[in-house]
Amino acid sequence: MTSELENLAGLDPDDPRPPSQQIANVLRAAIRTRKFEPGERLPSQNDLAERYNVARETVKTALRILRDERLIVTRQGSGAFVRAQTERPVGLRPHVEAAFERAHVTIEFAGFSGETLHGVLTEPLDKIRAGLLTPESVTVRILLPDTGEPMALPCLAETQADDPGVRERAERITRRHTDAIVEAVRELGELGLVKDAVAEVRVHRAAPLFKLYILNGDEAFFGFYPVVEHTVMINGQPTAIYDPMGKDAILFHRAVSDDEASDASQYVDQARTWFDSMWSTVSHDYTS
């Protein structure tokens, strides 16, 4: 254990990010480079706290970040372990943040509400505002179902039929997130922090069945939306609806490699083709 601790990179005193984030970054890198094998136990919280001269709470926060990314599992009383699955679901957040380190950033999203997208964009956009990231251009393209037209999903559970009240609820949730993203990106342009800042939203009439993120055109994340039934309040009345549920979806990650014929390269290429085709054919501007 001691040698493993010594092998872990130290923290950069000039790094403005909180120590918990930096420790998470170090551990993430160690896991990705297989310094810790799947199934292996990470150094204890006390050992890590001592190694980095931080409070145990800080280590806990770092581990929580990795757990949220599904890189580790924590077991009460016995510590944190690297997840054993070989096909490990990968967290979107660090990849989005890494994508913003490029000079020209493009983020494309197709899905239901943009709630997760909003969540993962907040930090990189904040960093641009704080001057910690300085991309020349940022392009965000969001492709969503049109809540102004009858929808196959979400729908009333009893009749499986479209319902204007159900759509208004979806519209409200969608708008909250897309408005915030569009606003934040445009602001970066207006403030002159990003030379070319564009955020566009288009809507189509297909049902939202999955979510797809394309980062800088060379990475794709894909997740299924299972359909779940739940009760929501529509016009003051409890209403059972069928709803696409993306919150707990595992995202599958593919990244372009040097081998153009590889499965992952073709996957990302096809994802881009699909996105561009939807964007330029059956969708239209989302107007307020």
Binding site: E158, T231, P238
Partner: protein, 239 residues
């Protein structure tokens, strides 16, 4: 006369929900009329040349006709009438009318982590057929239907209600039975479960109260009151 408790109070005091079927979940005889089915059962009895009193001749309630056979005929007649009723119920449920907000009660109860069972004087295959076709079967821990050819075991007999409590693995006092007839309330009290009377028709409220219902919800949309109370238990109920 007022109930002792509100619907929300009874729900917050209890866990598993036992639902009567015809009334709280749907109107079974909405398309195929109950009077038609009652007449069909009387035809079976007539074939056996068994005399029927005037109130049986005149009733629209097939269950009342079935009950009568147990007192007046041979067991083979009970079986014949029972089978005829089972067949009619299977047809009837295809045209049954969902009770407003029944689905919301079931889904919200499921979301709140409560077990749900049906305890009904209708036959289990018909109930299960309805639940499957409305995509509700997955929410049910158990479906307790009418005992075959033994009408004495129907509610208000507490036996099926006790069976339902056993099926949801709870002490009866932790269960709440929702029913729209006095037999539900009387059976529920005898089984020591809590009861919510669903007064879905004018005039039912005083009868359900006299039978001893702990709480009453009233009107055709009465199930909404249960659904709202259950929905408020959910952590994301603001959405």
């Amino acid at each position: 006369m007022n109930p002792r408790y509100s619907v929300a109070q009874v729900l917050s005091d209890t866990g598993p929900i036992l639902l009567d079927f015809d009334g709280p979940v749907c109107a079974v005889f909405a398309t195929l009329a109950d009077s038609t089915v009652a007449a069909e059962l009387r035809r079976v009895i007539d074939e056996h040349r068994v005399e029927m009193p005037a109130h049986i001749r005149g009733t629209d309630d097939p269950l009342e006709v079935l009950r009568f056979t147990a007192t007046a005929g041979t067991h083979s007649l009970v079986v014949r009438v029972e089978n005829a009723l089972c067949r009619a119920e299977l047809t009837a449920v295809d045209g049954a009318m969902p009770t407003p907000y029944a689905r919301e009660v079931i889904v919200a109860a499921h979301e709140a982590g409560r077990r749900i069972a049906i305890v009904s004087n209708n036959s289990a295959p018909a109930i299960e057929r309805y639940l499957a076709s409305h995509r509700l079967a997955r929410y049910m821990t158990a479906t307790i239907g009418r005992a075959h050819a033994d009408p004495s075991l129907m509610k208000p007999n507490p036996a099926p209600i006790r069976l339902a409590a056993l099926a949801v693995d709870a002490d009866p006092s932790r269960c709440v039975l929702v029913g729209d007839s006095t037999s539900d309330i009387e059976g529920g009290r005898a089984a020591d479960v809590r009861t919510i009377g669903f007064a879905n028709k004018p005039g039912k409220r005083p009868r359900l109260l006299r039978a001893g219902a702990d709480a009453i919800t009233e009107g055709t949309n009465g199930m909404a009151e249960l659904a709202k109370a259950l929905h408020h238990e959910l952590p994301n109920s603001a959405l």
